[in-house]
């Protein structure tokens, strides 16, 4: 059985990769990838902490159910927004979607 901290290190690596994508990528779909990676890092943490409690806490698994479902909803709306932005602007490069800039 791995120690708890190894799971937490994997999850912080995933968080770091996600933040890197959010900061440096220009394609809206890749930003969506990054958000999914960050949500998954959080889910790993929930499951790992729930498993390593003694006795294991059931709420950790419950909340991951809701988290996965909510992340799917978020991806759906995000993709619909990307399609609309593409239809209106002809690009999904977030650095060029700056019509609202003051």
């Amino acid at each position: 059985m791995e120690p708890l901290s190894s799971y937490l290190i994997v999850s912080s690596a995933l968080l770091g990769i996600g933040i890197y994508g959010l900061v440096s990528k220009r394609n809206a779909i890749r930003l969506l990838f990054s958000v999914e990676l960050i949500v998954n890092a959080a889910n790993i943490n929930f499951v790992a902490f729930a498993r390593y409690s003694n006795p294991p806490i059931l709420s950790g698994w419950d909340i991951v159910f809701y988290s996965v479902a909510a992340a799917a909803m978020e991806a759906t709306v995000g993709l619909a927004l990307i399609l609309v932005a593409f239809r209106l602007n002809g690009t999904i490069d977030v650095r060029r979607l700056n019509r609202l800039r003051g």
Binding site: S24, R26, L37, N43, I44, R51, A70, N89
Partner: protein
């Protein structure tokens, strides 16, 4: 002694996450994301939550990644070229810096602050019966709100994706 399955799965998760962001073709990136999410499901299995892993694969790989693939195909076929452009190197370096700092800070805090390897029960599987009962009793309100959220998402997606043929702005792709 580190577990081989754990090492392989975390390697898969991290390598395909990096590939998802760095692949030249967006389609391959989506496939990399799918592999990363499957690896996370494998970690769930190692943690004794098989049902959660099945849910993760069904929802993420089955629904979200397929949806992303459809969107990529729609966007790319209409524009006829890959939307991705060269990132300025400055931005990439800033991203690596920020992400590395955050990841190091989190990992350091974890190692320093985490309770020293709490003793977990050796073999444990989520009791599905109790999980279902708690989903339907203690968290019943959250379940209902989740249903409302799904309904709102379907409505919102339909509204956003509806093409207004009369008021279509002229000269734009579509």
């Amino acid at each position: 002694m580190p577990d081989i399955a754990f090492l392989a799965l975390s390697g898969l998760v991290i390598a395909s996450a990096i590939f998802a962001l760095e692949a030249k073709e967006l389609i391959y990136g989506a496939v990399g994301l799918a592999f990363s999410l499957i690896g996370v499901a494998g970690l769930f299995v190692l943690l004794g939550a098989e049902y959660l892993a099945m849910f993760q694969v069904a929802v993420y790989v089955g629904a979200v990644v397929v949806l992303i693939l459809f969107t990529i195909m729609l966007v790319q076929r209409e524009s006829g070229r890959i939307v991705e452009e060269e990132e300025p190197g400055r931005l990439g370096r800033a991203g690596v810096l920020v992400a590395g700092l955050v990841a190091l800070a989190v990992a350091g805090a974890v190692i320093i602050l985490a309770p020293v390897s709490p003793e977990a029960p050796e073999s444990y599987r989520v009791p599905l019966r109790e999980l279902g009962v708690s989903l339907a009793s203690s968290y019943a309100v959250a379940l209902v709100i989740l249903g409302l959220l799904i309904g709102a998402t379907v409505l919102g997606g339909l509204t956003l994706a509806k093409i207004d043929r009369e008021e279509k702005p002229s000269g734009t792709a579509q």
